[in-house]
């Protein structure tokens, strides 16, 4: 691990920032390129700063880390401000928003919120409040640019969210969910998750630490796209580092209760594999249901280790494209039964042909 080369140059620094002391200019050149493509440069800045290691970074690389960190800090302030405004708006109609993922890490001041950048703010509300929330936000400056009837229908019928809302002036994007996963294949018991949400004095909710980890894992390992996969792993790495020794079993039991063992299993496995997260050896036993068998695990390792990387030419291993392709289809099949998926894809195909003709 000490003389990291090629595809591990960046992950090695996230795992152990102290190795930065031994990095050559060439390794820094690669680390900055990889970190930029993984959207994790600001995270690296933060980890180095936490260990007082910024002084060992060569000046040229330092400029790029600082640049990324300044952008992330700007976004951090924006998120905090935006959540404040949102909570006030929703309070007026008696709804308390629950933040998910990046927005929640920042708002709850988690270490996973440090150096975290995001494209949109993910919010969870109860399904019965959804249309009320949407109607109200549309009267106070939020709009949806998915005007196509089919898009609208698709979002509302088959996903767990409404089309993204954009603020006309600030251009902030809100993703409002009523569940953490498309509702078709699995019945995720969202009430059990909502029961444990912590609301602060401003009426803003965040998940408990266990649920943050399980939610991020579910999001990553049931999805078909892994562009931000390494970033999500790094989030989970920082979250699990907050667990105390006795918390690990509670985390497992919570995943069992929510019936989300498989994604948690993969998340912990690849956090440990890619980022050396301190996951105990004996957390899973042979009696645990929901864990993959030997063959499934073999295939999973082949596929996931190829895509949970910075998506940059320096990091791609042979088989990358095939793994990406297979996982993309896995994601689709997990989300929708074939009776829904096939008509959906046909619809997309005919529409793309119609657009090309123009």
């Amino acid at each position: 691990m000490v003389c990291a080369k090629g595809h591990r140059v960046f992950e090695t620094l996230l795992s152990n920032p102290f190795l930065a002391k031994d990095y050559s200019d060439e390794q820094w050149d690669q680390a900055v390129r990889l970190g930029r493509s993984a959207n994790l440069l600001a995270r690296l800045y933060q980890l180095l700063a936490d260990s007082d290691l910024l002084k060992v970074v060569p000046q040229k690389a330092h400029h790029h880390l600082v640049s990324a960190s300044l952008q992330a800090q700007k976004q951090r302030m924006q998120v905090q401000w935006e959540v404040k405004l949102l909570a006030k708006e929703l309070l007026s109609i008696g709804v308390r928003p629950i933040l998910l993922k990046g927005g929640a890490y920042i708002y709850a001041n988690k270490s996973a919120g440090q150096g975290r950048t995001l494209a949109d703010i993910d919010v969870l509300v109860r399904k019965c409040d959804l249309s009320k929330v949407e109607r109200h936000l549309k009267t106070v400056g939020w709009y949806s640019d998915k005007v196509d009837d089919y898009d609208q229908y698709y979002y509302r019928e088959w996903t767990h969210e409404i089309p993204p809302l954009i603020h006309y002036k600030r251009q902030t994007v809100l993703d409002i969910h009523h569940n953490i996963f498309p509702v078709l294949r699995f019945r995720i018991d969202i009430e059990r998750l909502m029961d444990k949400v912590y609301f602060d004095a401003d009426g803003v909710g965040t998940l408990q630490l266990y649920d943050m980890i399980i939610h991020s894992a579910t999001h990553l390992f049931f999805e078909g796209e892994f562009e931000s996969g390494l970033r999500d792993l790094s989030d989970m790495d920082l979250l699990v580092r907050e667990l105390k020794v006795e918390d690990w079993l509670k985390l497992k039991h919570r995943a069992q209760e929510l019936r989300l063992v498989r994604p948690l299993f993969y998340a912990l496995r690849y956090c440990r594999h890619c980022l050396s997260s301190p996951v105990p050896d004996d957390i899973w036993t042979a009696r645990d249901t929901g864990t993959p068998n030997a063959l499934q695990l073999y295939v999973a390792d082949l596929l996931f280790t190829r895509v949970l990387i910075p998506h940059h030419a320096l990091a791609k291993k042979p088989g990358y494209r095939l793994a990406k392709f297979l996982l993309y289809w896995r994601g689709h099949v997990l989300k929708m039964p074939l009776s829904v998926l096939v008509p959906h894809l046909l619809r997309k195909l005919t529409r793309s042909i119609a657009v090309t003709k123009d």
Partner: protein, 302 residues
């Protein structure tokens, strides 16, 4: 390690430039780029030793699609990532300029950036902040040909801790009528061919003068902030500008003021405090030269 210099393996299609504060590697097999890059950038070219750290790796290449051949297009890539839509192949050379501007303005926040030109002579360093269409490229190109050192015609960089201006001295982006005007007024000026039908009309690039290129590592302390405006037929009209208005002109023309936060505000205030501030309307170069040379008179030269 083996991957890193893969792009250089072809040999002559990659150029490395040192712009004083940062290093750029350009790779392209597009004919126009191969033709004009050595002409424009020879003075910044650094062949050996190859720098271990490159700030921006840029590729200008044709896309892997039908548009490689049919009505050819080119793409701008920053280290493999394409931030823009492709442009017609004929615009490959200006695309590199615009793309590099984008890289600096969006990715590099070590400095406070202004949408401004900057010129320097004998220690008099003038910042010319102005929105597009005010004639700042034309004006700064003319001043460069008149013996001033060009810092930039587009992005003026200021270091927050010192408030000193940092030169880049890249080619000047001339548009439409100003191309022929400058070529006629300054026969010694070295320009590329004209690139037609770009988003900004006809574009040609002017090579930086030797004085500009050779001193690209020398920073300077800004002394004047002058907001220029080209008004056809107008005799030179220079007016003192109140400091709050000058501050707003600076901030309003900054690319990353909002990202630098307080240090951006402090730097902009410091600049306005230490500079004499004017607005300037002009139509004739001779009058402008007389005014600018007047600023230099009596200065010690730093």
């Amino acid at each position: 390690m083996s991957n890193q210099y893969l792009l250089d393996a072809n040999g002559d299609n990659t150029w490395q430039f040192e712009f004083g504060s940062f290093t750029v590697a350009l790779t392209s097999s597009v004919d126009n780029v191969k033709k004009w890059t050595p002409f424009l950038y020879q003075q910044f070219h650094k062949a050996e030793p190859r720098p271990a750290f490159v700030d921006f790796r840029i590729q200008i290449e044709r896309p892997e699609s039908l548009r490689r051949w049919v009505r050819p297009q080119v793409n701008f890539y920053l280290d493999g990532f394409a931030p823009f839509k492709p442009l017609p192949a004929q615009q490959a050379v200006p695309l590199f300029e615009w793309g590099l501007n984008w890289c600096i303005a969006n990715q590099y926040h070590r400095y406070l950036h202004f949408h401004a030109a900057g010129v320097e002579k004998n220690g008099i360093m003038v910042i010319l902040p102005a929105p597009p269409g005010s004639g700042k490229s034309t004006l700064s190109a003319a001043l460069m040909q008149h013996g001033w050192r060009l810092f930039s015609d587009e992005i003026l960089m200021v270091e927050p801790t010192t408030a000193r201006a940092i030169p880049i001295g890249r080619p000047v982006n001339l548009k439409n009528e100003s191309i022929d005007l400058l070529q006629k007024t300054f026969p010694q000026a070295e320009l590329t061919e004209k690139f037609y039908d770009t988003a900004k009309g006809v574009v040609a690039l002017m090579k930086p003068t030797a004085a500009t290129a050779s001193r690209v590592s020398e920073t300077a302390m800004p002394t004047h902030i002058i907001t220029p405006r080209y008004v056809p037929g107008r005799t030179l009209n220079v007016r003192a500008c109140r400091k709050p208005a000058a501050l707003m002109a600076l901030i309003g023309n900054s690319f990353n003021y909002h990202i630098l936060g307080k240090s951006g505000f402090d730097t902009a205030c410091r600049l306005v405090d230490q500079c004499d501030c004017f607005t300037l309307e002009y139509s004739r170069f001779e009058e402008v030269f007389e005014f600018f040379d007047g600023l230099c008179e009596g200065s010690q030269g730093v």
